[in-house]
Symmetry: none
Subunit: 208 residues, 4 copies
């Protein structure tokens, strides 16, 4: 394979990823069921046939979008966790990312779209549950570390606390995404921090 070909391949792969990123926005805005090839076409300037060439069927494209979005989310959080060492602060980073308090709520919307698709598609379900577990494990590790460091105080299993914590995050993202006037982003952040603090047994001294 010549350099030219390889460069072409790389360029093509990059273009495919660009299209994928644009498709994410479209799916986040319109919803997966309502996303047609034409919508992605309009958002990217790439023809319908080309999309099919890249992804296969429409369903394959949507699944590619879910996977891409999930990975992007995880990557983004890992990047933001990079310099943060305190268990409580790490928890807050994750929470604020997922509730969309930082960044747009496209991530959360795609998360919901993935859930929904997973309800009916076994393959997607497996992937979503896997991602779900990745979050649980990540959070559980933070909690275990917090307990070990004496920042948190709880005798519950870290994995259980992680499940409770992630449930809280997901559940609080809803009214924010819906634009509930009674639950603004800032309020949601406070409610979330307060509840997380109670769940992990945040010791008063460490409270903000």
């Amino acid at each position: 394979m010549s350099d030219v070909t390889r460069n072409g391949g790389r360029r093509a792969a990059r273009k495919r990823d660009d299209v994928l990123a644009a498709a994410c926005s479209v799916v986040a805005e319109r919803g997966a069921d309502a996303t047609r090839f034409t919508d992605v076409t309009a958002a990217t300037g790439v023809g319908v046939s080309t999309l099919q060439y890249y992804f296969g069927s429409r369903e394959d494209m949507l699944i590619a979008v879910f996977r891409f979005a999930a990975q992007s989310d995880f990557d983004a959080v890992e990047a933001r966790l990079g310099g943060v060492t305190g268990p409580w602060e790490r928890l807050v980073v994750i929470a604020s990312h997922l509730t969309g308090a930082v960044g747009s709520d496209a991530g959360w919307r795609l998360w919901v779209e993935s859930w929904r698709w997973a309800l009916r598609d076994p393959d997607v379900r497996a992937e979503v549950l896997g991602d779900y577990t990745r979050w649980h494990v990540l959070i559980a590790e933070i909690i275990a570390a917090g307990v070990a460091q004496g920042v948190f105080q709880t005798d519950a299993a870290p994995m259980d606390v992680a499940r409770q914590a992630l449930a809280l995050v997901d559940g609080l993202a809803l009214p924010v995404a819906l634009g509930d006037p009674q639950v603004t982003g800032a309020m949601a952040g406070d409610l979330l921090a307060d509840a997380l603090g109670r769940l992990v047994g945040l010791r008063p001294a460490a409270a903000p």
Copy 2:
């Protein structure tokens, strides 16, 4: 007019409600976007044009389903709360209902479908937020009563605790609905009870 006419009207209204109930099942199973007139037709034996005669457009039918399901949910919980007086027990009733620990998870699925639709339709959003507030208020009243009776101990505003509690319920329903093998219904119930207890400051003496 005559009794016959009135009965005819009543019978018609009942038939419409029967269709609506069946449509709820269909939407819960297939998802709102994927629910076609023909799907409801297959589930009810009623012709497509009759569905349109009853509901108007397909969208109107879906919205009718959302409304019907939300009201049914609320009615069911109120019925189940009928003989329950203890604040903690009342809270558990609500939680167990919403996570589908009792009854099918059709209710929760429809709840998710409503959210999703609400993200894009302002009218539905207003209704969903209204329903959301109804739950908040119901839970807040229980919490306030629990605090007054000394069963709960928290200095947070009951409405805020209610928001945290409902978020937990919503968030924990997700893995259950997805059939996460690591979070069965029973486990979710325990996790939920434990977390709710921490949030409302359930006094040890009252713990089950």
Copy 3:
């Protein structure tokens, strides 16, 4: 048959005629093909079933409209011809009526709708040709009288001249109805009078 019944019948017949008149307006505005029961319903407040009770099928209703409109037109012209005695003046009355220079162009539009329907429906064609002949005869009589009185001068058969005259009227109504900015109603009237004058050999002395 009691008086009450007869009055009821008369009242019913009048109502039917009112509906028919309203239906004429609807057909003139929307065109026969595009006129639905619903459109007439909206214009009259009468329910669809009642329209069917009055007229039978939709097609029957349209044919009733054509017949009603044709008769109304003829009646209106005869009324306007009542006090007019001069052949040239009588001709002008007819011309001005048909081109819609006087009154709305609903009459002309319905005339066109009748033509079109007649192209495909033999029964309507027979009626339209009959009406057409009525106009020819009426005009031919006027021309014969004009020639007899020495107001017109032509050696052509009056019936032939009548056919030419009516053709002119019909043909000039078109651009007026279309709102051709180059052929206003007044201009059309002048063109028509001029051309009719030439066709019937209007003697200069009688020219306006």
Copy 4:
């Protein structure tokens, strides 16, 4: 691109035109309002979706038919005028074409369909008025030439005479198209020639 591609494009364009020509017949026979996609499908063997791919919506197809027919008409007359030089003869060519004395009356029917559509659609109206003016101008030029050559004798403006002449043609086409037994094609031709002669002041010497 390549010859093959270009041929493909040309072939496609030709096919579209074939379909258009067939659609003209269908519209002429059934009327525009009554022309369904399936009617054109039956007449061409081309699938419904292909028609939509070619023309867009059903309305767009009808408008394409109108435009195509109008242009065809004009082209045909220009072709027939090719070798004819005498003003009177040229006038007769136009008249005989428009009344369908030569060729089928599909052209005239489509002309009527265009009028009708133009009554309700502003875009079509503009096009129809434009075509109308083209005919007016063509006829006016002939009349002016005839006057200049001394074949015609009239002091009216050529454009006005053209309007009268075209009105006559349109108006006489009606009974012919309707199959009025009292006005056969030949008679209509005579009536038309006679009336046109009077309108343009055809000098006896030049009469046929």
